[in-house]
Symmetry: C2
Subunit: 130 residues, 2 copies
């Protein structure tokens, strides 16, 4: 199988920084993306929010099997800081907080679908590639 000059190849070739996920270096957008959606719970949280959001903190916690307060809370904070999650607080008693996704997640969805499709295609045709 001949290696073609594809997008990944071009992208990497244009970069020359070091010490990051890809050869592009610290500011490589792919590296940034992996940091944003990486970790154990982030994608699961985003999926749940897309399906059921806007949703309250405790209801969200019920939807995500096995997550702890520590992780749900810190993950939501990071996702909010990165602009993927919106937090709305109603100052009533007791406090009511609702989480939802931003438009950025709508754009992310189709890309993740492709990534999933790639993985299932690959495991199906594994021997064909070798």
């Amino acid at each position: 199988m001949i290696i073609e000059d594809n997008d990944l190849k071009r992208s990497a070739a244009e970069c020359n920084n070091k010490n990051s996920i890809c050869p592009c270096g610290e500011k490589c957008p792919l590296s940034t993306a992996m940091e944003i959606i990486g970790g154990k719970w982030k994608l699961q949280i985003l999926c749940a929010l897309q399906i059921d959001g806007p949703i309250r903190y405790n209801d969200l916690k019920q939807k995500i099997n096995g997550i702890t307060n520590t992780m749900l809370s810190s993950s939501l904070k990071k996702l909010e800081a990165d602009g993927l999650v919106r937090r709305k607080q109603y100052n009533v008693m007791p406090v009511r907080v609702e989480y939802s996704t931003t438009a950025a997640v709508d754009d992310l969805g189709p890309i993740l679908m492709q990534l999933g499709k790639w993985a299932s295609d690959m495991s199906r045709n594994k021997q064909a590639f070798e």
Copy 2:
């Protein structure tokens, strides 16, 4: 911003397993994909192999700033087991081994490019989404 019923939403809605990266569960292809390309060095190795492969072990190590034998060796093994990397050994003295990517990586490239573009678009328009 109204949450549309997009691909991510549909995908997650069709699944109902637990204890995985996304609500789809253990066999969720997206979860599989993240395991395959996740970790500190895998994408960097794939990029380097796409650009310079087929390439010998020690030459590859030079291309990837800061990687140790332990990590390069174990990452290559996993990537090979997952069908993304091909290892060819020439039984001469001293041993010569060449690594290259498989066709699966050609398919992966454009998807990763989109992911990178998503990240850069997002950081540029962060405030517009909120």
